[in-house]
Structure formats: C-alpha cells, structure tokens
Amino acid sequence: MNEKTKRFVRSKFHEYYNTAEIEIPSELWMRELGFVHFDPSYPAKLVMRRHKSFATEGELVKYLRENAPAHAYHSAAVYKYPAADMAKKDWIGADLIFDLDADHVVDETELQKYSYEDLLVLVKKETEKLIDFMLDDFGFHEDDIELVFSGSRGYHIHIQKKEVRMLGSRERREIVDYITATGLDMNSFLTVSGKADSADLRFKPEGWGKLLFKGLIEFLHEIAAMEEEDAIKRVRSAGVQERKKAEELIRITKDKTVMERIERGEIPQFAKSIKWDEIAKAVTNAVRVKSGDRPDEPVTADIKRLIRLPTSLHGKSSLNVKPLKLDTFEDFDPLEDAVVFGDSPVEIRMVRGSAIKMKGERYKLEEGEVASLPECVALYFMCRGAAECV
C-alpha cells in the first residue's frame, strides 16, 4: 500500500467514522481499547496502540473520528485500571468470547484451495453449530448472544451474562472442549442395565450422549442403504478395520428387530464387541464445532484478549465488523450486507491478480490491469494489498 493509496483509504475510513453509529461496548470505562492506525509503517508493520481507555462514549467516538484507525479492538475483560500495564490492570471479569475464523476451520495447507466466498460459507456453518450449542446445551437465551461478523473471514460471538464473567481460563477451556468434543468419552453416556456379564448397554440421551446417539443412528441408516462393499469401506473409514467386525455391524443394520432396539437407545450385549467408540468419534466430526480454538493458541480461554470493536471497519477488507441478528443470520451475506462504501467509480491499478464477488457482481482482475471500479470494490482490493490508487 503506497502513501497515496493509504491517504485515500484513510480518508474513506474518516468519512465512515464521521457519520457511523458506533456500538459502544458495555461498561466502556472499564475496558481496554487498542488501535492500529494508518501510520507510516502501515501495513508493513502493524503497531498496536494498546492500553487506551475512554471514560465516555463521546470520547471514543471522537477518537475514531479524529484517527480513523485501520483496526479497532476492545478487551473482552473489564478491569479496574484498564489503561495500566497488563500486570496492574486488576482483572474484574471477562465476556465469554468465541472467535471463529476460516483459518481455524480449514487446515492451513488447504486454505489456498478455497475462494473467500467459500470460506465464508464454511465458517458460517460452524458458527451456526456453535450457536446451537450455546442455546440448547448451555441454555443461553437468544438475547444473551451477540453475533458479529468479523469484517474478514469469520464471526465473533460475545456473551456478557454476569454468571460467565467470572469464569477463569480453565473453565473457559472446558466450554471450548465441549463444543469441539475434545476429550469426549462415549462410555460416559452408556449405562449398564441387567447383570454384569450379559448386560445390555443403554444410551443416556443427554448432553453429548444425545448427539452421539443421533449421529450413530444416522450412520447406521446410511450403512444399511449401501451396497455391501461400499458399506464395508464406509465402516472401515469410521475406524473399524477388521473385515469381520465390519460385516457384523452391517448385518446389524439390516436386522429390523435389533435396529429397533438400538433406536430405543439399547445396545444389545452381543453387539458390544463392535468398536462403538471408534464409530462415535467418526460421527462427532459432523456435529462438533471444528476447532473453534487451537490448543496451542488460547483464544476463547484467553481472558485478557482483545476483540474487534463491533461497527468498526476491518482495515484488511474495508468491511464492517457488523453486529447481526440471530434470526436473520441465515440470510446474511457479508459481501453484500457488511459493505459500507458506495459505487462511485475509482480508478485503480492491480499489483497482483485478485477476484471478488461483491454486491452480487463478480470482479476478476489480472496483475497490472488498470480499471475503474465501484468504490467499495476498489477499497476492498486496496485494503487486501492487491491494488493501488492510480
């Protein structure tokens, strides 16, 4: 991003902040804020200006209007002294935050294979699963959940309920483990009924037990409908390697009486030798939230992290960090609904080839191409570092 482009982008961000209605974080005065400015080193080196605090809404709005930052963040935590050094802040509590980003959902090496639009679709699916967990399992009310488009490749969920504010890192890690099925042990959801040796197993249809059970039934039906060889392949891919065991399982799926019993939640004694826990592992994959968090980089469990300020702009995309409603989430299209800039033509020169579908229109440009594009598309390419002002 050359100086001219940077000036242009910054002036556009200014325009946005001059009129935008900023959503002020609750208890603003107890939060730490952080910003990255369009300063001389941007974007080669991102200088995070941390430990800022604002006593009033007006002060924050004024700061945004004066500086038009490239990135704006607030702390998930509330502190007694939000502007002090980390060690002296005096932590009071923190919102429960989930950060679902494409690079958590898709393996790093695979990331290149997907288009931006495809990634957004994938992350949305994971976000929907996470919301279901929050509502059904964790019992949060729809109003407790604040859903925000990250402005880039993901979604953030903020939960501010006072009961979760005091949870420490380890407690939060347990919540992440729950939604990602980390450490799940199917035996916790099986009870033994009858005499020890000849006992049948029963599924407890609660918590993950319910999800495992549902997944298992779907899996068995899927197998039943397959040709023998395909079915064996499928069972093997689920972790049951021995052919004999696989065949036994397939026989079970075709036995009506046994299937009826299984659907009632009973695993007959004779079927116990099948590696149910392997199959359970396979079925959780469809249900669990895929790595909403990476174990080596605590995100949700980090009770002092910063999260993007809702309604601010994302400097690497020019898109709005947009608060969303749960009931209209299904229809939300970031490349339509999170676009804040208009359509007046801007002339740009591509420094590398790039493509995007924005506001329903597809733009694909080659390196070196000079083009006149709608302002919103031009800004997107500039922020991505794919284009410069002419």
Binding site: M86, A87, G168, A181, G183, D185, D296
Partner: protein
C-alpha cells in the same frame, strides 16, 4: 423446584463439623474470642493444642478426626482451634503444608457430609457456596447444577468423567447424582479453606507460638522424607535427567533459536511443575530473539496459575507428539506417558545406581 432461603443451622455441634462455614466464624466472633487470648491465654491452651493436632493429623493421616461434642465449652474449644490452625500453617508458610492441610480439612468434612443423608445439608452447602441448585423433576437422587457453578469447582478434578464434555448438560444445567454433587462440594470446601492462606500474620505472633510451629515443622520434614520419591515438591532440579523433548527445547532457547508457542508452554509448565521459581523460568527466555520481559512474566505467571490459582500441568507425551514436540525419544520414553514421569523415573534410577556404587 428452585431453592430459595434456607434456614442456616448455627448450633455449635453442626458448626464443629464444618468450621469453615460463615456461621462458624460468626459464632467465634460472637463468642467474643480475641486473637490475643487465642494466641497466649492459658484458658485457650486446649484450643491451641487441638489446633496443632489438626495440622499434625493432616500430615500424618491426611484427614482430621471430628470429636463428639458433648458440651458447649468443648464446642467453643473445637471451633476456636480452627482459626488457630490457620494461623499455624500461615506462620510456617509452606505451600505444600497449606495444600495438605486444606485437603485434609475438606476431606474430613466431606466424609461427614457423605454420611448425612438429609437434603437440608445439601441446600445449606449450596447456599453457602453460592451454587444454583435445582432438583431433577424425574429422579429423587439427582440434582441439576448451573454449568458455570459446576465448572467453578470441578476443573481441578483430574478424572475425565468430570470433564464437562462427558457430562449430561442440558439447557445450561449439569445433571449430577447426589454423591457426585457432594464430591463437588468437597472441592468447594477445599477452595474455601485454602482461601487467603497463608494469612498475613504479624511476626511477633508467629514468635509467640513458635513451640507449636516447631513441632509441626518437624512433622512436616518427616512427611517429606516419607514422600521423597512420590511427590514432585521435593524433587531435585537435575537437568541431566530431563526428558529429551524438554532438553531439546531448552537447547533451542539457549541457542537463541525461536521456539513455537506450544513448545514454550510445555517447557515452562514442566519447569514450574518440578519446582523452579517464576524468575528462574523467565531467566531461561532471556536468550530468546524476541524476549520481552513483561510479556514473558505475564505468560509464565499465567501458566503458574497466579491468576486462576491453578497451575497448568506440563503436556503429556501424547500432546507433545501431536504438536511435533516429541524429539529424541529413548528407552525410558517407551515406558512412560508423561515427561514428568520420565524425569521422576530417571532421578530414581540414578539415585539407585549411586547407592549401589557407594555401599
């Protein structure tokens, strides 16, 4: 069924079983027992002896015997022995002693709580520890606990069946059997007892009661000796016996090679677990190309559990493998599943070898 106000039981016999209850400290306050008297008055000698006995029992038997209370004077003595025991362990200020003492008190209370079949005590304890509790409409012996209350007291329990992911969680409530809930209460009691320990006791007071603390210190040494090859607390720091994975990471740090976050976590937790101080661990990072003392201190303190109160345990061999941090595996590695076990085992082998060599 939502439980609202429960009448608190305040009779001394009850409080003697659970001396950490708010009502118990109120009782001691209301009885007008002054700190000076507790420390030195002749009339409190029996309370002081009983206080010392509490700590000694914690060391010797890992639990605390609960006497049968027959008269009010005995109850007063028993109740005031609890704050005195807290003063004793605070004057000694040894972390191992504090943990062991708190655990013994909690265990003793847990034993009595398990014997009590009434639901009243369940209500009372839930109220005391601010746990939101419902009874299952379907089963008499089951309780429903809000997940955030459940998490508050169970992250320290190691067994995988206590992990939230393996629990019946529905609409924010964790379903527990009554026995399981009493186990959760034991954790709550442990936290309560450990809270604020060590107390800030003025030096003069510690001096006055030195006869008592000296006896305990002797007992503590005895216990330590017996535990010598079991606990990590008394392990020597012998870098030669570190497992190859930890040695490799330390070697990289020393050479100023940048080390991944996961590897840093592993080595930090490992060193803290075997008893290095936070400062000693921070010093190891000084060669790191991106060394930032404040940041490092913050992270080391986090792993040491300064904020949460719970230190992290170093990752197991399986986790080390997952993140590509398992290197140079040797024959001891084959026999263990945790870097800390490796270290313990190697130290023991070395010790035995030395003993054999010098008869």
């Amino acid at each position: 069924m939502q439980i609202n106000m429960i009448e608190r039981r305040t009779e001394p016999q009850h409080l003697c079983i659970y001396p950490f209850l708010t009502a118990a400290s109120e009782y001691v306050d209301a009885a007008g027992i002054m700190l000076d008297d507790l420390i030195s008055a002749v009339s409190f000698k029996r309370a002081r002896l009983r206080g010392k006995a509490r700590v000694i029992e914690a060391l010797e038997e890992a639990t605390i015997r609960k006497p049968v209370i027959i008269n009010p004077a005995q109850a007063d003595m028993e109740l005031s022995s609890y704050p005195f025991a807290r003063i004793l362990v605070s004057c000694i200020g040894d972390n191992y002693l504090i943990r062991r003492y708190a655990l013994a008190e909690a265990k003793a209370a847990h034993e009595r709580l398990s014997e009590d079949t009434s639901l009243d005590i369940i209500y009372e304890m839930s109220e005391e520890f601010g746990i939101q509790l419902d009874f299952s409409p379907y089963a008499q012996n089951q309780v429903l606990v809000a997940f955030y209350d459940y998490l508050r007291f169970t992250t320290n329990i190691r067994d995988k069946r206590w992990r939230l992911v393996n629990r019946s969680l529905e609409r924010g409530k964790v379903k527990l059997s009554k026995t399981e809930f009493v186990r959760v209460l034991q954790e709550a009691m442990y936290e309560r007892i450990k809270q604020d320990l060590p107390l800030k006791v003025p030096k003069e007071i510690c001096k006055t009661i030195r006869d008592y603390t000296d006896d305990i210190k002797r007992e503590l040494e005895e216990t330590r000796k017996k535990l010598g090859d079991v606990g990590f607390e008394s392990l020597v720091k012998d870098p030669d016996s570190f497992p190859p994975c930890i040695k490799a990471i330390l070697g990289n740090l020393k050479a100023g090679v940048n080390v991944t976050h996961g590897a840093r976590f592993a080595v930090t937790a490992f060193l803290l677990n075997i008893g290095l101080t936070e400062d000693e661990v921070i010093a190891i990072y000084k060669n790191s190309p991106d060394f930032d003392e404040e940041r490092t201190r913050y992270q080391v303190e986090h792993i040491a559990g300064d904020k949460s109160g719970v230190p992290y345990t170093a990752p197991s061999c399986a986790t080390m493998r997952t993140y590509g941090n398992c290197t140079g595996s040797d024959d001891i590695c084959e026999k263990v599943t945790h870097p800390l076990t490796y270290y313990k085992r190697k130290l023991k082998d070395k010790d035995m070898k030395e003993k054999r060599e010098k008869p």
